[in-house]
């Protein structure tokens, strides 16, 4: 995840790199996401959040839709294998 000066720079970078444009949003939303996503990392009883819990965090900051789906079947935890999602 990279930070660009502007939407125009995102477009130009994608074209230059021949990379399909992904999703963009502002820093305010990223701050909310960053605050929620890792808030348990210093917890002695940390466990990896389930897919549904992580999906809920994404949705809580307004990141919904196919691009933000953590699995092809968002309601099926069993379809996830270790290391297959973030």
């Amino acid at each position: 995840m990279l930070l660009f000066r502007s939407e125009e720079d995102v477009e130009a970078w994608c074209e230059h790199r021949q990379i399909a444009r992904g999703a963009t949003f502002d820093l305010a939303r990223l701050w909310r996401l960053a605050s929620a996503w890792y808030d348990d990392r210093l917890d002695p009883n940390w466990r990896r959040r389930t897919v549904l819990e992580r999906q809920a965090i994404l949705e809580s900051v307004g990141l919904g839709g196919p691009f933000w789906r953590l699995t092809d079947s968002p309601r099926s935890e069993r379809s996830i294998t270790p290391g297959s999602d973030a």
Binding site: L3, W13, D26, L30, W31, Y38, W68
Partner: protein, 150 residues
């Protein structure tokens, strides 16, 4: 032999090491702290990556690469707070370090296209005049396919 309690203690110690020392401990340092044979630590780090998804080792080694949001190697996302500094794996992780530690500070990076330096400031737990556009290339379902690229 797997020891979930020990693995959990090692994970937490690695994170606290990142916080305090602004970098990752080596496997030997972990072994010394826990008074364990190095091979036992290597196995624990392997389990923490492959079973718990708690950290990422440098490919082909037992050295820690990432304990998200921290990076053990220099990146384009330098986080500063007072006299301390860390590396984030991406802009998301850079901000997450300040959020996780409840610190005011900055994340320094540069626009990948224009090269213009970009500085994101956090003060009193909030962004100050945030400018810039966050771009996610990789869809969420593929984030862990190649975490280095992501």
């Amino acid at each position: 032999m797997s020891n979930p309690i020990l693995d959990s203690e090692i994970r937490l110690w690695v994170y606290q090491y990142f916080v305090d020392a602004c970098g990752a401990p080596s496997p030997i340092e972990i072994a010394a702290n826990f008074r364990l044979p190095p091979v036992q630590v290597e196995h624990a780090l392997h389990r923490l990556q492959t079973e718990a998804d708690a950290l990422v080792r440098i490919p082909g080694s037992s050295y820690i690469w990432m304990a998200e949001p921290f990076s053990a190697v220099p990146t384009s996302f330098l986080v500063r707070s007072g006299a301390r500094q860390w590396w984030g794996n991406c802009i998301w992780d850079g901000l997450a370090i300040l959020a996780l530690l409840c610190l005011d500070g900055t994340v320094s990076t540069a626009c990948p296209f224009s090269g213009q330096p970009l500085l994101v400031t956090v003060a009193d737990g909030a962004l100050v005049n945030p400018r810039g556009v966050v771009h996610f290339v990789v869809p969420a379902r593929d984030w862990w396919r190649d975490i280095g690229f992501t």
